[in-house]
């Protein structure tokens, strides 16, 4: 993993920890982000972590870009030695797969898709070698996902599937992006899953919809009253497949401030995870649903 530095104009320093995605690259980026934050370098106004890279916004009137670069480079060595362990939380997100709203939308934009004669789910199942959509959904909701970036638009999580690389779901984005995506669509592009926090344009394949708002600028949703954005990098997500009845019930619960997503505090240890991925995931799930 070679770290690459490049300036984004005169106000941003872009740091790519790895060209390809892996949890190792995420943790290296996270350690460097923490290192930069803790070092309190003057002139740094904002730090944005991404999947395998991050970006520092700075005020060049306060610090010369070359001096900033020197200070950030000095952090790299220590960050590489940091233990890839974090305290985080695991949350269950209900998903109504194959729902009528994303289905209506994907039919409207069929000419922009690789497979105009099928659905996004049928296409994703086929190219990932699943015998049926049902099996594909079982895989999608069968393992946890790691939030490796929050962004694009307000509060949208990018999620990395916590399985061996050969089992990771991979799909291309739409040939041309859609101009519309229902709010709370569960999507997938490249190796990343996402939840569209707001309605709008999008290029990811659409698999389903969650009844659980993850961005609320009015902060009236019970679990978003402290802050309008739900996700943070490092969160672990477990999808649960639900039917129409459960979806409608959950929407009603959200509207009446009764909806409370199951959330548990957990710690995540990358080395332990790699020793036995399925065993580690089972333990995480045990913590989510256990006492």
């Amino acid at each position: 993993m070679t770290t690459r530095y490049s300036f984004g104009g005169d106000e941003h320093l872009f740091v790519e920890c790895s060209e390809e995605m892996s949890l190792e690259a995420f943790f290296k980026s996270l350690s460097m982000v923490n290192g930069v934050r803790e070092s309190g370098i003057r002139g740094v106004t904002e730090i944005c972590p991404a999947n395998a890279s991050f970006q520092i916004k700075f005020d060049p009137d306060t610090i010369h870009p070359d001096d900033l670069l020197k200070e950030v480079r000095a952090i790299e060595g220590a960050a590489e030695k940091a233990e890839p362990v974090i305290k985080t939380r695991i949350v269950e997100i209900p998903v109504f797969y194959n729902d009528p709203w994303t289905h209506e939308t994907l039919m409207r934009f069929r000419e922009r898709h690789q497979d105009p004669n099928g659905t996004d789910l049928e296409y994703a199942a086929r190219i990932n070698n699943y015998a049926s959509v049902r099996e594909f959904i079982a895989a999608h909701s069968g393992s946890p996902w790691f939030v490796s970036m929050v962004g694009f638009v307000a509060g949208l999580p990018f999620m990395y599937q916590m399985v061996e690389r050969r089992r990771q779901i991979e799909v291309p984005k739409y040939l041309r992006p859609r101009t519309d995506t229902p709010r709370l669509t569960v999507g997938h592009g490249g190796c990343f899953g996402c939840i569209y926090s707001v309605r709008g344009a999008g290029g990811y394949q659409m698999f389903g919809i969650t009844p659980m708002p993850i961005f609320d600028p009015t902060q009236t949703t019970s679990y978003l009253s402290d802050f309008m954005v739900f996700f943070r990098p490092g969160d672990i997500v477990k999808f649960k497949s639900i039917d129409r009845e459960a979806y409608d019930q959950a929407v009603e619960d959200v509207d009446h401030s009764r909806f409370a997503p199951p959330i548990r505090e957990v710690s995540f240890d990358l080395a332990e995870f790699h020793k036995d991925i399925d065993g580690y995931n089972a333990k995480l799930e045990g913590m989510l649903y256990g006492g």
């Binding site: 300036f7 104009g9 005169d10 872009f14 060209e19 970036m149 929050v150 962004g151 490249g190 707001v198």
Partner: protein, 325 residues
């Protein structure tokens, strides 16, 4: 004090100097596209330069005032009228209770900044009054203004009537527009020939140009250095593992049409970027109309910092000129 919206124009939003600090969650800085003009408009009417005003693109709104106020219109050349009487641009003029502020057709530029003495007093959201329509955040109910809205205005003073910004302190894009760029980020993905073409070709602003991003057309397609795509990036050669996007960064999906991200930028995504427009030239982009011929001009970091200092000096001169009157 309030302003009644009789007609909204095309897309008129409440903007100030933005809400820095939430880009890591996908919430962009926002604020006036042409910050220099918004700051100038505020100073003209005696406001703090970070007060909220209105930004209107291509077509001005029609506004009725409930009390006397000072107004200044800066940025694009789109003459203001009070009860039909033309008013000078970049100058503080009075609008009396019951009078209507409207606008003539756009003559040059793209966006006007309208400052009202006292500032548009919508609630502050995450430290700013700027409108972020996609997130329904800030501004007037999180959306562009509409006919029937009543915009609250803070307490202001009428003292600076007649105050004006000298012609040489008004900044406009040239013809063709020149945007200075520091190449970088994923610049190395382009072949040497494509790198040359990017700066040699004349581009034109596409109709898809808004507060999120400005798209350009007309240059030659950019060719990529061949490689095996990294895991997680996606199959197109213009794809990368989703990363952050700097403000002003230029992405070129498929190598065909450059898009410069602006104040309401998406914070990240999976398209490679060839470089970034320097901070000193960001304001100019907001004044480009569709079809404007545009050249990208390669500069070094030192040149970018010099241009930034020049802009700061220009604004300082403007600020001093206000205090003298």
């Amino acid at each position: 004090m309030a302003v009644k919206v009789l007609h909204h124009g095309l897309a008129t939003t409440v903007q100030d100097l933005g809400r820095p600090g939430y880009f890591h969650l996908g919430i962009p800085v926002g604020g006036a596209m042409d910050r220099y003009s918004m700051r100038a408009a505020n100073l003209l009417v005696g406001n703090d330069e970070g007060a909220a005003g209105l930004e209107a693109v291509f077509l001005g709104p029609k506004l009725e005032f409930t009390e006397d106020a000072l107004v200044a219109v800066t940025g694009a050349d789109m003459p203001a009228k009070v009860d039909g009487v033309l008013q000078p641009g970049w100058t503080a003029f009075k609008v009396e209770a019951g009078q209507v502020l409207s606008f003539d057709f756009l003559k040059s530029g793209a966006r006007i900044c309208i400052a009202v003495s006292g500032g548009i007093d919508v609630p502050v959201a995450l430290g700013s009054r700027s409108t972020y329509p996609i997130g329904a955040l800030g501004g007037f109910k999180g959306r562009p203004i509409a006919a029937g809205d009543v915009l609250p205005v803070g307490p202001g003073s009428l003292a600076s009537e007649g105050r004006t910004v000298a012609e040489e302190l008004r900044r406009k894009p040239g013809t063709p527009a020149e945007l200075r760029v520091i190449p970088g980020l994923y610049w190395h993905r382009l072949t040497a020939e494509a790198q040359q073409n990017f700066f040699a070709d004349e581009w034109r602003v596409a109709p898809e140009a808004d507060r999120m991003g400005y798209r350009f057309r007309g240059g030659r397609k950019l060719e990529f250095v061949e490689r095996q795509q990294p895991f997680g990036a996606g199959s197109d050669p213009s794809n990368i593992v989703d990363s952050c996007y700097p403000y002003g960064s230029i992405q070129v999906p498929g190598g065909t049409e450059p898009i410069i991200l602006h104040r309401d930028a998406v914070s990240g995504g999976g398209y490679f970027m060839v470089g970034t427009v320097i901070s000193a030239d960001m304001d100019l982009i907001g004044q480009l109309q569709p079809h404007t011929p545009t050249r990208f001009v390669e500069v070094t970091m030192e040149e970018a910092l010099a241009a930034r200092a020049e802009q700061a000096a220009l604004f300082e001169k403007l600020r001093r000129s206000m205090n003298w009157q």
